[in-house]
């Protein structure tokens, strides 16, 4: 903008900004007491559970398909079935009816768009009776086994912070964003 304000314009701008701040219906930060306390970065990192599709938020560690099979049998099979095809809890694998048919199977392999969601959800919510107690290696292993029984990765797959976000899920492009860019 190649123009400079006159004194009158500056005064008018100042006045209108004062009026504006006096008139806003919602109290703004200036009026708030500002009681938030600074957070220690290390503590924050320990509590942070969000894992993004690009792998941001994934911790160090690694797990294999065979380790995951044993963990699933111990912690998950009672509800999800021994082959993860469903029980009192939902089916996670074994889809036979495609998404464009009636009563389609919405499993990890057929429906979930991102592999990182597995880590995010298992770490925070599983097992049901003691959520948040599995370590990173165990969560990577369970992710590996679930991806394997869904035919997404091979039996020798190793999941870690590098390999998990690199997995391309079969239904990656199956979603239409309605109210988000």
């Amino acid at each position: 903008m190649g123009w400079s304000r006159t004194h009158t314009e500056r005064a008018a701008a100042l006045l209108s900004s004062l009026l504006l701040s006096a008139c806003v219906a919602t109290p703004n930060a200036v009026e708030a007491p500002r009681l938030g306390q600074a957070v220690d970065g290390a503590a924050l990192a320990r509590q942070q559970l969000n894992v993004f599709p690009d792998g941001r938020g994934l911790p160090p560690g690694r797990g294999t398909v065979s380790e995951g099979a044993a963990l699933f049998a111990r912690h998950c099979a009672a509800c999800h079935g021994k082959d993860a095809r469903g029980g009192s809890a939902e089916e996670l694998a074994g889809a036979t009816r495609p998404l464009n048919t009636p009563a389609a199977d919405k499993t990890i392999g057929s429906y979930w768009p991102y592999a990182t969601t597995l880590f995010d959800f298992i770490r925070r919510a599983k097992p049901m009776t003691a959520p948040g107690t599995l370590n990173a290696d165990e969560v990577y292993a369970l992710s590996a086994w679930l991806l394997h029984i869904n035919g997404v990765v091979g039996a020798d797959a190793v999941m870690d912070a590098r390999t998990l976000p690199a997995v391309r899920m079969p239904n990656r492009d199956g979603f239409i964003r309605i109210e988000a860019e």
Binding site: T26, P27, N28, A29, E31, A32, P33, R34, L35, G36, Q37, A38, V39, G41, L44, Q47, Q48, L49, N50, V51, F52, P53, D54, C79, S88, A89, P98, L99, N100, P102, A103, A104, K106, I108, Y111, W112, P113, Y114, T116, T117, D120, F121, R124, A125, M128, P131, G132, G174, F175, I176, R177, I178, E179, A180, E181
Partner: protein, 420 residues
């Protein structure tokens, strides 16, 4: 001069099937029948409460023991009792406010019993300074109150079934409640932390067993979201998020994260389990709708409704609820002939944006089979669709965001059932 009572049996109809002018309600002394059974009358000298002292004070009031059937209907996982829903009994209630003890619930792994002295809300991510707020501090911030409905994205999902489900209105459509929510505008806390340029999402996380997380666009958060601390004047109840929950006006219930403990400001959604494998709607094409945040324009007749009985041909009050996540309800029409003709219902004040609105219209039932329907229009012109139109557009595998017209069949014996 006393107003003359109109003869309800000679008044002209305003639509087929016996619907009468909505303004009849404004005439004083006009008593309309309801489907609820009348109480037996008793001589006053036999009434014990007239002759013995009553109970002493109680510190916190409870409903009458005679109203114990006005209760939430619980649908929980047998294997994990804290995983399920409880429905608000909409047909048992009047007005628009849901009593706090009857507000619907959806829990994944039980109701945490949180000590407010040990609870913190952390705001971090793309901010100048990550901040932590304890509950006492938040109670000192400027607050705002707003009457708003909350509706689960999965409410009414039995409507996708091929056959109409035969359950009470609240047991099908009662993942819907309305309250006055009071809390701190979230924009205040974000301003205090200082949001970085490039931020566009906020990921909210609860402190339940499972720490459920959901992504919400930053524009919505800044526009009108609250940290909810009070519900209908009292602090939130544990099952509704004590000590604090997110309030996201007009958007699906799962975003109103209960037991809120963390807000991560980011440049992208986290793609959590609940926003990918759940709360996405599979279409006949095989593609799924995702990030369908706004609850669409909708209405429901609560009286008469499924399971109730009209005792005899008479003039009844048809009453129900309308709502739209897009804004204010502008119009509700009622049909007594299965949708062939429609009449405008009266909208009761207040008719607030993103809040339940009560509608009423008198209806003269002649004792013959009838089908009652209601359809709402909001201030943006969104019209509640017929079921056939919704199913034609979305298929039947969407599971979430069902907002089609609900139809009640009245049989010749007065019994009301669910029909399509």
């Amino acid at each position: 001069m006393p107003r003359q009572r109109p003869d309800l049996h000679t008044l002209p109809e305003v639509a087929g099937g016996g619907l009468l002018d909505r303004r009849l309600f404004l005439r004083r002394g006009l008593a309309l029948a309801t489907a609820a059974a009348a109480a037996e009358t008793q001589a006053a000298d036999e009434l014990p409460w007239l002759h013995t002292p009553g109970a002493p004070f109680t510190p916190y009031g409870q409903p009458s023991s005679h109203e114990r059937l006005t209760a939430r209907r619980i649908g929980a996982n047998r294997a994990v009792a804290g995983n399920g829903v409880s429905f608000t009994p909409l047909e048992e209630l009047e007005g628009i406010i849901t009593p706090n003890g009857l507000h619907f619930e959806r829990h994944h792994n039980g109701v945490p019993q949180i000590d407010p002295a040990r609870h913190r809300l952390v705001v971090h991510g793309l901010v100048r300074q990550a901040l932590s707020f304890d509950v006492k501090s938040l109670l000192r911030y400027p607050m705002r109150s707003q009457m708003l409905f909350i509706e689960c994205g999965g409410n009414s999902n039995a409507g996708w079934h091929g056959e109409p489900i035969q359950r009470s209105a609240g047991s099908v459509h009662g993942l819907l409640s309305c309250a006055e929510w009071t809390g701190v505008p979230l924009s205040i806390l974000l301003d205090e932390a200082g949001v970085d340029a490039g931020a566009s999402w906020v990921i909210a996380e609860g402190a339940d067993a499972g720490a459920m997380n959901m992504s919400i666009p930053l524009t919505k958060i800044r526009d009108d979201c609250l940290i909810g601390l009070y519900q209908n004047g009292e602090r939130l109840r544990p099952e509704n998020g004590y000590p604090m929950r997110l309030i996201v006006p007009g958007w699906e219930g799962v975003l109103h994260v209960k037991w809120l403990q963390r807000l991560e400001v980011t440049d992208q959604p986290v793609m959590s389990r609940n926003e990918t494998s759940k709360y996405t709607e599979l279409q006949p094409s095989g593609k799924a709708r995702q990030f369908t945040f706004t609850m669409d324009c909708k209405s429901l007749i609560t009286s008469p409704s499924h399971g109730q009985t009209l005792p005899r041909p008479d003039v009844y009050q048809v009453s129900g609820l309308a709502w739209s996540g897009h804004g204010r309800i502008r119009r509700v029409e009622v049909s007594a002939d299965g949708g062939k003709s429609w009449a405008d219902a009266a909208l009761e004040s207040p008719a607030l944006p993103r809040c339940l609105t009560r509608f009423r219209i008198p209806w003269r039932w002649d004792g013959k089979p009838a089908v009652l329907k209601s359809r709402a229009t909001d201030e943006h012109g969104n019209l509640q669709p017929e079921r056939a139109a919704l199913v034609a557009e979305r298929g039947r595998a969407g599971y979430f965001h069902y907002n089609a017209i609900v139809a009640w069949a009245v049989e010749d014996d007065g019994l009301v059932t669910h029909t399509y």
